[in-house]
Amino acid sequence: MRHILIVGATSAIAEATARRFAQEGDRLYLVARNPERLAAVASDLETRGATQVETMVLDANDTTKHSELITQAETTMGGLDTILVAHGTLSDQKACESSFDETLKELQTNCLSLISLLTHVANRFEEQKHGTIVVISSVAGDRGRQSNYVYGTAKAAVSTFLQGLRNRLYRSGVTVITIKPGFVDTPMTASFRKGKLWVSPEKISEGISRAIQRKSDVVYLPWFWKFIMVVIRLIPENFFKKMKL
């Protein structure tokens, strides 16, 4: 039985993944901003078989509470061995272009708040010499594009941070997993036209479970994004800059 902290527990990917944890009978500590939605998710996971479900209403941007949050999770569950970080917003690129404040807000939510959390968790896991850190990054961080480079910047920083963390924590037996989903049909992307490349959060959660089991490092979900992103990264910059992406 695992003791799992989930930040951004009402996000579609986190919820789908948490259902898998619940079916395995894990203990769960859920964090999200909206109390009603958090309560609905918690009762669902409890009914589906989680051994214990605890919740905390918290805005992940409130970084002063992170240390306390991790202590709370550890105490109420009697341990902490896995964290899934899934909170985030899909930045409004146009708004960010005309306002640095907007950009800063996006970087705060999608990058700095994660780095704060991970700093605390990394130290605890390093000390206890075991643990699994799973973070939802994005393929958007693999190359800057005009349509969403602020979001991409945040995710690129997260991915790079995780790379370093993985390297540092390897000796302590801590697993660090970077999840890079492609297009996922969630409330966050409700306004998008959905083509063949879109998949459900359930599909992504299946990949996340597998990645945890295999102690993977960087996982593209679904798998074909690995190849798409290899091609996209290979395009020379002086050509890439002329493309409308």
Binding site: E36, D44, R48, A190
Partner: protein, 434 residues
């Protein structure tokens, strides 16, 4: 983009907008479109369609809210599938109180159509086991309904075709079982009289009864078929394994695979599928309740033009004569389906104002869509049903006349008072405005 068709894929309708709420606290979109909740698209005709209006795709509301292991009371959001409920509760010794012939319907859809199953003679409809529900209305916000609070709205919402507001969650009383197995018997019978005899003698001792009918058989074999009856099994030493992975019917057939030759061959073989007149087996509940769920997208068998399902009920006094007359027309037309189903309903009335099940015999079958020819045939069937004082099932209908609908469901005007002012459906516009 995900398609929003009905199961029969006739008629075609294109919603102007689709919204996918994921949370019970989400308000309705502000634009001016008429709204209709859409569950898992298992209604056959146009009751789940809203041509040029907006659909609320309710599948995002798929959470279990509570389950009391000792009393069997389950509370869940409206987009939860019956299949999800079974997966959760069967291992704990509970089962759905009523289940239709597919487990891929949502709880909201099961309530909105007040679905029934092979145990109607014992337990009535799905709606009779709903203890409480929450409804979001455009004019009143969230309304809690049960037999004691907002009872009128509660009764209008059961079989309310999704028109009384969006069901957010419901509380359902499940029934206990010893295990996942069914103790079943299949009996071959050679005509309609034999069916009614078997049904009469079986309904007392068997919770589940239904018959498959060879809809092409004529003359003294008219109405021949296989009678299936069963009960949840008592504790067993060795339990049957659940069936393997389901397979999907891969592609749309360019033409229907269901035609008079394939139908005749299938029906003759199926009628003789067992050597003995009676066969008793202990089987897993899935093949017993959901033979067609084993083939996902089986509706593709009928090709792009789709098919029409027809289910009617005729009153007990004249049931035999009415069913005989219906089967004669179908057999003469050499149309109809692999799966024609006949069952005798019990006497338990549902409180739902527009509920379909009522005492009598019910016949259900589907027809490949052959345009006017098919519509004419179904009109002929309607004439018999209407003159017998029966009814046709809205959840399966795509074509009944408004006049017939209003005769079949005399409480429709009373029902109309409870329709949410922002809700409508293709079906409702068709049967009330023509």
């Amino acid at each position: 983009m995900k398609g929003y068709a009905s199961w029969g894929r006739y008629p075609k309708a294109i919603p102007a907008m689709v919204y996918g709420p994921h949370w019970a606290d989400e308000l309705f979109p502000k634009d001016a479109h008429f709204l209709l909740p859409y569950g898992n698209g298992r209604s056959y005709g146009d009751s789940c369609l809203n041509d040029s209006g907006a659909l609320l795709d309710m599948r995002g509301l798929d959470r279990f809210l509570s389950f009391d292991h000792s009393t069997g009371i389950l509370r869940c959001e409206a987009g939860v599938l019956l299949a999800d409920i079974l997966a959760l509760v069967v291992p704990m010794g509970w089962f759905l109180p009523v289940t239709p012939g597919t487990r891929f319907v949502t709880v909201g859809g099961a309530i909105a159509n007040d679905v029934h199953g092979k145990n109607h003679h014992r337990t009535g409809t799905f709606g009779q086991h709903v203890q409480r529900l929450a409804l979001r209305r455009s004019d009143q916000g969230v309304v809690l309904c049960s037999v004691t609070e907002n009872a009128d709205l509660f009764h209008a919402t059961i079989a309310g075709l999704g028109l009384t507001g969006a069901i957010l969650w419901a509380e359902i009383q499940l029934r206990p079982i010893a295990n996942a197995a069914m103790d079943t018997e299949t009996i071959r019978f050679s005509n309609l009289d034999a069916f009614f005899d078997l049904s009469g003698e079986s309904d007392r001792d068997y919770e589940y009864t239904v018959a498959w009918i060879d809809c092409l058989a004529q003359g003294k074999f008219l109405g021949r078929g296989l009678f299936m009856r069963g009960n949840h099994a008592t504790p067993q030493e060795k339990l049957p394994a659940p069936p393997g992975k389901t397979r999907g019917f891969p592609v749309d057939m360019p033409f229907p695979l269901v035609n008079v030759w394939s139908l005749r061959a299938f029906n003759s073989l199926y009628y003789r599928k067992q050597f003995a007149k009676m066969r008793r087996t202990i089987t897993h509940y899935e093949p017993f309740f959901y033979p067609l769920d084993g083939v996902l997208h089986w509706n593709r068998l009928y090709g792009r033009r789709g098919f029409l399902q027809y289910q009617c009920v005729v009153p007990p006094e004249s049931a035999k004569e009415s069913i005989r007359a219906l089967l004669e027309i179908i057999a003469t037309a050499r149309s109809g389906s692999f799966l024609a189903v006949l069952k005798v309903f019990g006497n338990r009335f549902s409180p739902g104002l527009l509920s379909f099940p009522r005492p009598g015999a019910t016949l259900a079958l589907d027809f490949p869509n052959q345009g006017q020819h098919t519509l004419d045939l179904l009109d002929q069937l309607d004439t018999i049903v209407a003159s017998a004082g029966g009814a046709v099932y809205p959840a399966k209908d795509a074509r009944m006349s408004g006049e017939h609908f209003r005769q079949y469901f005399p409480r429709w005007e009373e029902f109309q008072r409870y329709i949410d002012p922002r809700f409508s459906s293709s079906f409702w516009r068709r049967v009330t405005r023509t």
